[in-house]
């Protein structure tokens, strides 16, 4: 009991602030009809869920590595665009499997070269120069070959072939008829396939040469054994690449004909994995040399986010477009709007009508039910990861003292790459999930990054539950301000109700952050410094 009083006193500010939030929320609710506040709250959770998906990775990466990844918003956007492409143009994805798998096979072959190089005795000068030559030639070969690999794509420059039109065709069910399979451009397929593997292999051989020259080969690894794991992975990737090449047409036809709910699931997986891969790559190549230099990191991640935006503009065009909802959330025909969850699943409705407090509330099944559920799912999954797995244990330990973790024999650098990839992966998942509800545009990342940063500041920078709480608060504030913009706030002594203008939506969030930071500089759930 005594302990309870002590902790109550210690957390006085926190408790008062949270109480003020509850009161404000109740007041905001009180000014609306029941149906309005239920829907507005659901929308708040929906917005909050997406913000949380971006903020979660942000907070874990910041806590563990001290890196402020301002590219998180752009990577969220890339998740949406990649997911859109897989969903609307599965043939493009199938075309991409072959080059990606073959290049990866070459790149991952690095451990194989070590043994070969051990036998090779080279003059000093040659040993110094050849790795560079190999890497440069490898990159050149890859650029040359990938530009000629078959890839059927949309064209953002021509309206009739632009993503906007492809979405229309998708919704009209005309995709299969419009797709033209692509061919190798000017080089025989066999040469192209070999060149893809060879290009990757040259780069990895060059890197093995570098590593050898600098003597960074592992002492604890057994050099005599064959690297079986690498051999299996490389062979598997080559098989996948060749399989996708030979079975290109049938795989495309299969993906075009399967239930689009499944296709949407594949799109989610593809976008999430792409995000994870990009994140890991970014950490390993760009962030790693800058761990001690925080200012450079910030500049770098901002730079990456601009490059990412331009890349998306080049590939998908400047115009935003919509993403069709999977059929489970798109039905408008008979039995819709549904009046219960069972009715929705039966008729696959886009909306549900529920009677709340004597009024009928229209709830969009995707935006207002599925998106918050995905957020909740990730919240629980990541919590379990952090508290119930060995990786999570290492993360919690590394947040405090990554040097000691390394001294226990744990490859902290690898863990950093993994966690960075994981953070970006969750953000990319947020992108593809929000695609069907908010549409795609090249500004979607910036808007969300702002929300995520505010959520972190409100919840406490490196606190994972804080990220979730902050995100929900930001989402609710935004949605309530939007709703009051429509219905107006009744203020005593004023004839007309006050209507917050749209610019107040982002502004309200910033005001919220300022107030919180003045009252509680460490955020709601953050630890005191």
């Amino acid at each position: 009991m005594n302990d309870f009083m002590v902790s109550l006193r210690r957390n006085r500010t926190r408790i008062i602030t949270l109480a003020v939030f509850v009161v404000l929320f109740l007041m905001a609710v009180g000014g609306m009809s029941t149906k309005d506040w239920v829907i507005t709250t659901l929308r708040g959770f929906s917005t909050g869920a997406v913000i949380f998906l971006v903020a979660a990775g942000f907070s874990i990466v910041l806590g563990l590595m001290g890196v402020l990844n301002l590219a998180q918003g752009t990577l969220y956007m890339i998740g949406a665009y990649v997911g859109w492409s897989v969903f609307v143009r599965p043939d493009t994805m199938v075309d991409l499997i072959t080059p990606l798998a073959l290049i990866a096979a070459g790149l991952l072959a690095q451990p194989l070269w070590g043994r070969l190089l051990d036998r090779l005795v080279l003059p000093h000068k040659v040993a110094r120069i050849w790795p560079w030559v190999a890497v440069i030639l490898g990159i050149a070969l890859l650029v040359f070959t990938t530009a000629r690999a078959p890839l059927a794509m949309w064209d953002p420059e021509a309206y009739s072939d632009s993503p906007i039109v492809w979405v229309q065709m998708f919704e009209a069910g005309q995709i299969s008829a419009r797709i033209q399979p692509a061919e190798w451009d000017g080089i025989p397929p066999l040469v192209g396939l070999v060149a893809l593997v060879a290009g990757g292999a040259m780069i990895s051989a060059g890197q093995a040469g570098h590593a050898r020259r600098h003597g960074v080969a592992s002492v604890s690894a057994d050099r005599k054994r064959l690297p079986w794991r690498t051999i299996v992975i490389v062979l598997a990737l080559i098989t996948i690449g060749l399989g996708a090449h030979l079975g290109n047409d049938s795989l495309t036809a299969f993906l075009l004909n399967i239930n689009r709910n499944w296709l949407f699931l594949i799109a989610i997986v593809a976008a999430t994995l792409t995000g994870g891969g990009l994140g890991a790559l970014m950490e390993a190549t760009l962030i790693r040399p800058l761990y001690e230099r925080h200012t450079y990191q910030i500049m770098l991640t901002i730079g990456v986010s601009f490059v990412g935006i331009e890349l998306v503009r080049a590939l998908w065009g400047r115009q935003g477009f919509t993403m069709p909802r999977p059929p489970l959330f798109a039905g408008t025909g008979e039995g819709c709007p549904a009046t219960s969850l069972v009715g929705w699943l039966q008729h696959q409705c886009s909306t549900m009508e529920l009677t709340i407090g004597g009024e009928v509330a229209r709830i969009r099944t995707y935006n207002e039910l599925v998106v918050p559920l995905v957020g909740l799912f990730v919240l629980v999954a990541v919590w379990l990861l952090i508290h119930r797995t060995r990786l999570g244990m290492i993360i919690r330990a590394g947040v405090q003292d990554s040097e000691m973790v390394e001294a226990l024999g744990i490859n902290v650098r690898q863990v950093f790459t993994l966690v960075f990839g994981l953070g970006v992966m969750i953000a990319a998942l947020g992108g593809i999930i929000s695609g069907p509800s908010t549409g795609l545009s090249t500004q979607m990342g910036e808007t969300l990054l702002l929300g995520a940063l505010v959520a972190l500041a409100v919840g406490g920078l490196t606190s994972y539950p804080g990220a979730a709480l902050g995100a929900v608060i930001v989402g609710l504030v935004q949605q309530f301000v939007i709703k009051y913009g429509q219905i107006g706030i009744k203020i005593p002594f004023l004839e007309e109700p006050l209507k917050p203008t749209p610019p107040l939506v982002p502004a309200s969030v910033i005001i919220l952050m300022i107030i919180i930071l003045v009252v509680m500089p460490q955020g709601l759930l953050g630890k005191k410094e």
Partner: protein
């Protein structure tokens, strides 16, 4: 391995930023013995341990552990060869429970299960605390946990930094008993300010003065040499 030394540190030079901290440290640790690193505060004892582990990699010099040159390798790689580290600040993970603090040190599955009995024999208190978060432990309990953590994997060498610092006399006694018990199976390189503790545990010593190893030999000889003790370690 017929080499009599488990660890040979030869003339290492370590820089921290611009500062030339270690200016030639040589330490030889025979297999199965306890060697004490002695010297005043700031002489470079802790940095010597960190240099061996590659946490502050030396720029020059050789470090041979278990017959292999380890200088230039990454810390996790060096530690994985069988070196346990008990740092000066104990570095108990505050957000992890005592059990998790031990489990995180496992290098292969079942390490902890094999060592559980030994650990709880040496430090019976830990058994009672097993579910508490590291943040709730007292200084002495943290020190025990830090040593216990280094025992979880099969380490050939333990680097222990100031095990008696800030401990009550009763606990110092317990800690010494534990380290003595350990030396039956492993080799220990010990940094210790408390000469009484060091002289009772170690069989040989190395003295570091201003980043250089200036003297070494058998502990028995040092105990009978008050002049040397006074010169390098201040009052004995």
């Amino acid at each position: 391995m017929d080499n009599e030394y488990l660890l040979e540190v030869s003339d290492i030079h370590t820089y921290i930023g611009q500062f030339h901290i270690l200016q030639g440290v040589t330490v030889r640790v025979p297999m199965g013995h306890i060697v004490a690193l002695l010297g005043r505060n700031g002489a470079g004892k802790t940095i010597t341990l960190k240099s061996i582990l590659g946490l502050t990699p030396p720029r020059r010099g050789r470090i041979v552990f278990d017959g292999r040159e380890i200088h230039g390798n990454r810390s996790f790689d060096i530690a994985s060869m069988g070196i346990g580290f008990v740092p000066e600040n104990r570095a108990v993970f505050r957000d992890l429970s005592v059990l998790e603090n031990l489990r995180i040190a496992e290098r292969s599955k079942g390490d902890l299960a094999r060592k559980e009995e030994l650990i709880f024999t040496l430090f019976p208190d830990l058994k009672r605390l097993i579910k508490l978060p590291g943040a709730n432990l007292s200084g002495g309990q943290q020190q025990m946990l830090a040593v216990a953590r280094a025992l979880v994997p099969d380490n050939k060498l333990l680097l222990i930094d100031e095990p008696s610092e800030g401990l009550a006399p009763v606990l110092i006694e317990q800690m010494m008993e534990a380290i003595r018990h350990l030396s039956a199976e492993t080799t220990v390189l010990l940094v210790e300010q408390n000469f009484v503790v060091a002289s009772q545990l170690a069989s040989s010593y190395v003295i570091i003065e201003e980043g250089q190893s200036v003297d070494s030999g058998e502990m028995a000889d040092l105990i009978n040499d008050p002049a040397t003790i006074h010169r390098y370690l201040g009052a004995a």
